[in-house]
Each structure stands twice: as structure tokens, then as C-alpha cells.
Symmetry: C2
């Protein structure tokens, strides 16, 4: 089969389409013919050597896809079934092996490209904000990087759940995107200190910045707030004032989806389908796709992520 292979270590531009063997199925896995693969920042980090591949996972990039089951292996799945898949790797290819618990139905009326664009983000946002932080209707939900792939999804999810959504972004244009998706409080981080605007107000925070925002996030926290760090674009080492955190009775979690074991992923996939798929079906959440590129242009796609010029998701059509 054809797949994207990195020919030079730590060089994103060295990604190219090559002929590689079709994956062999392990017990409980199905083989999916990939029709579309979502592009994530984690893929970029992996090409740069900053996102180690979990033991036993495919070395091929790609954490989500949509396609068709072509071999059901030892599972009870149906060949020919169209599915969306949460992957531990391997999506940038013609075929990928997928554990049965990581298969999701394609929401009715969704194209493969649309379906491939929402798996990772839906599972990431729901597992952190719904399952872990327990977002409640009366909450104020602060989303950093509101115009990105995670942000645009999280805004819509927050509004569908009836909360007040606050976002940070770095340009008027990006904030306009957030506003159009329903965000209530718009903060241009280049012009305003979000911690001043939201001081003691944010009940749940979804953070992709890390160390650089740590103290400010604690300042923005309301009583009993829960902040979840899922990215560290602003570094890893920050100062934490536990006295300030205790005054808020605050909680800080840092998580990633990829390293979780299969049982944990299956639990997340199942809860995400239960809670988020109805919102996709009712169009309360719609995929926000910047554009689609052919699989062969994976390097160019990751360069766009690096440049930060994308609003919404990039998808590779296979």
C-alpha cells in the first residue's frame, strides 16, 4: 500500500509517499481502507521528534481517519461498513489496523472528510471537558486558541451544552471566527491580559499553551475550577503558586489521548459517541475544515500547521 514515510529524522519536509506493507491485524482489530485522514498538531510534533510513538503503535503518522472496513479480522464487524476511527497512529496511509473499540459510526450525511476531521478533536475535548472536568450548564468555559481545530470544536460543544464560552486568540479575524461559532467573551491575547478579564470567573479551562499561561490560568480560575492542559505551545516548566490554587480549591490536569491503553480509549470513544454524536447529527456542532489536501502533500499540510495560518482542521484525502 502507499503511505507517508519520513525519510529524514526530525525533518518534517522529508515526508513522502512510499510503498509499504499493509498492516497485519492483531486480535480485536479490523482493517480499514482509509478515505480521509485528519491532520493534528501532534503529527507535526512527531515529525520533529517531540511526540514519541507509543510502544506497539504504527510508526506512520495519523491519529484519526474515516474509511471502509475491508477485513473484519476476528471481530464481529461488517466488511463494507463505513466508519470513523480513533487511531494510535497509521492514518496517513491507504490502509490502517484499528482496534474494534476505536471504531465510531459516521454521523448521517457526513462525508469521509468531515468524519475524519472530528474524531480526535471530539474525543479529546469530550474526554477532558465532559468526562474529566465535568463542565456544567452554569459554567464559564475558557478556551485558549479558540480559532484552532480544538478551539472551534470546543466553542460549539460549550454552546450546545449551554455554558458561557470565553476564548483567546491572536487576531481580530480569528476572534471573528470564534464569535460566529457562538463564543460569548472574545479576548485578543496580544491586546489584553485574559487573566484580568476573567479573574476568578473561569470554571473550566481548556489550555494548549502550558507553562506560559500557568499563573494566569490560576488567576482566571473561579472557585472549584478545573483546568486541563492538553498542549504546551508555551513551554513545559512553569511556576505554580499552590497557595493561589488552594484559595480557588482548583484542580489542574494534564492529559493526552494517545498514550492511553485500548480499554481507556474504548471507554472514551463510547462516551464521545453517546454524548457528542447527537450534537453532530443535530448540527449544533459542525466540522470546521480549513481545506483538504491530497495524502501526498502531508509535508505541506504540516507546514501550514507550523505556520499557524489555519483556522479549523486540515484533512488529507486518500
Amino acid at each position: 500500500m502507499q503511505a507517508i514515510v519520513q525519510t529524514e529524522e526530525k525533518v518534517t519536509a522529508s515526508l513522502e509517499l512510499q510503498e509499504v506493507p499493509v498492516p497485519t491485524l492483531k486480535p480485536g482489530e479490523v482493517l480499514v481502507e482509509v478515505k480521509a485522514a485528519g491532520v493534528n498538531r501532534a503529527d507535526l510534533l512527531q515529525t520533529q521528534g517531540n511526540y514519541p510513538v507509543p510502544a506497539g503503535a504504527s510508526e506512520i503518522l495519523g491519529l484519526e481517519c474515516a474509511g471502509v472496513i475491508v477485513d473484519a479480522g476476528d471481530t464481529g464487524q461488517t466488511v463494507g461498513q463505513e466508519v470513523a476511527c480513533l487511531l494510535t497512529g497509521g492514518g496517513y496511509a491507504q490502509y490502517v489496523a484499528v482496534p474494534e473499540g476505536q471504531l465510531m459510526p459516521i454521523p448521517e450525511g457526513y462525508s469521509f472528510v468531515e468524519a475524519a476531521s472530528i474524531v480526535e478533536v471530539a474525543c479529546t475535548v469530550w474526554s477532558n471537558i465532559g468526562m474529566l472536568a465535568g463542565l456544567q450548564k452554569e459554567d464559564t468555559f475558557l478556551i485558549h486558541g479558540g480559532a484552532g481545530g480544538i478551539g472551534t470544536f470546543a466553542i460549539q460543544m460549550g454552546k450546545a451544552l449551554g455554558v458561557t464560552v470565553a476564548v483567546t486568540a491572536g487576531s481580530t479575524e480569528k476572534l471573528k471566527t470564534c464569535k460566529n461559532l457562538g463564543a460569548d467573551i472574545l479576548i485578543n491575547y496580544k491586546e489584553e491580559d485574559f487573566a484580568e478579564v476573567l479573574k476568578n470567573k473561569a470554571d473550566v479551562i481548556l489550555d494548549i499553551i502550558g507553562a506560559k499561561y500557568l499563573s494566569q490560568n490560576v488567576k482566571a480560575m473561579a472557585k472549584d475550577a478545573h483546568m486541563v492542559v492538553i498542549g504546551m505551545q508555551g513551554g513545559v516548566k512553569g511556576e505554580l503558586n499552590l497557595g493561589h490554587l488552594l484559595a480557588k480549591r482548583g484542580t489542574i490536569s494534564a492529559t493526552a489521548l494517545r498514550g492511553r491503553d485500548e480499554a481507556d480509549k474504548a471507554r472514551i470513544v463510547s462516551s464521545t459517541v453517546e454524548n457528542i454524536w447527537p450534537l453532530l447529527q443535530s448540527k449544533e456542532i459542525t466540522p470546521h475544515i480549513d481545506h483538504t489536501l491530497p495524502l501526498a502533500e502531508a509535508a505541506a499540510a504540516l507546514q501550514k500547521i507550523q505556520d499557524g495560518t489555519i483556522t479549523g482542521k486540515l484533512v488529507l484525502a486518500v
Copy 2:
């Protein structure tokens, strides 16, 4: 009535017994004649000016007591009923006003002194370790300061729930106390680095040290671990490496009981009585009282807390 009054700001030694007015009841409160009042480190911090009294709370020290209802106010409680009470202040006195939701039954066969010694610690440990961190049977539970009031209770609770208990303490004698209570892994922090001993092993951590142990606690965390900071004897400002925390999918909370609102306290009291009172009744958890002093010797009691010579709880008999 007689109560302990601080005559000089920030001077613990200036505590003395004085005549003050009996508290007036607010709606939903009962008046309790105090028979015994528990002594807590927070009381010491309050005398030093480092633990601000929440708005509306009594200025008198004392976060827990046991006694007899002498005025039921507008509640349906019974005059003459013996009760243990979680207080927001006011326990170092002959009488204290208590919101109805903060009354607990006295476990059968318990003296007032024993009952007064377990309220704050039971609510603190259960609310953090049971309700917040969700300690599970297969977990390894790390308790810092195993020989203190919190520690001795937490060890017994951990063992009653069937978990592996690890403790740190600063002397062989203190570790012996922990061992006698059932602790499985004993670490003298003066001789060993607990983070090396427990690297990647601790599922739940109960911390009273704060900043000084922050990095080591993260190192000791297992996957999906939850650390709860309830004291900061080792300072408030620490460096947090979010990359290390994310590698564990770790969660850090910092909490205090006192600042919670009445509804929240009632919720905690109710869950603690439901989950912990049976363990007190069955003697799986027994109060560990260092000794009892008369109310008039409150200053001396707090000095002993300051000196760190206490194993278990100090109680004032009124």
C-alpha cells in the same frame, strides 16, 4: 460564656480564656454546648495571621467539637442530643452556633473527646481522597506526614478500603506509629528520596508539604494519578513541569474545607458520615489522640503543634 481569645495579633502565646457573649443563632443553626474541641494546625496558622477567617465566621478558634444541643433554634433538631460538629470557627468556647448540615452523630461508644478528634480529619481526608481523588482498591496511596493527625487517620482509612499505603515521616519512631496503623511502605524522608522509592507508583497522594515536594510528587505519580495538596508546610511556590505531569496524565488539586459554603460542607458531612462512620463504628479506624488539655491551655496546645512533637491529635476538654 468562656472562650479562648487572642489578645495580641500574630502571637499564639497571647491566647487566654475570657468572658465573651454566647453566639446568636442564625436561621438553620443550633447552639451546642461544647464538651471537647479538636486542635488543628489551621488553628495555629490562624493565630499567626496566616489563615484568614472566612467572612461571617466566628473569630474564635476551633474547627471541630463534640457536645450537646442546648438550643435547636428554628431547626427540627432535639435539645439534649449529643453531636459531633464540623465548624467554620468557634470551637474553643463553652458554646458554639452550628449550621444543621454540619452536625454528625457521635459514633456509638465514643467519648466527646474521641468524637471531637475525628470530625475535621474525617471530613478532610474523605472529601479529598474519597470524593475528589476517588481512591480505588488496587491503588497505592502515598501519605506525607503519616504520623500526624491527618496521616494517622488517612493510613487507617486507606487500609480499611484495601489499598497499599505508603507514608513519609521524619523519624523511626513516627514510622513505627505508621506501621502499627497498617502502613505498607515506610519512608524516612531524612534518609531516602520518596520519589525514587515510589517512582511512577503512587495513584493517589495526600500532601501537606506543598511547593517543596511538588516535583517529587509528580515523579512519584503513577499514570492517571491524583495528588491533593491540603497543606503547605514546605512553601507555596514550586516549579511544575507540565510535560512530566502530562506524561502521567496527572491531576493536582489544592483544597481547604473551611472556605467552602454551607451547602458544600453539608454535602461533605453527609458523605463522610455515610462512608467513614461505619469504619469508626467497626473500629477499622480508631481515633489516635496524643493527649487532652484543658481549654485554658489552648496556647500550650498550639505550641506543641508548632514544635511537631505530636503524633495523632490534641483535644481540648471544655
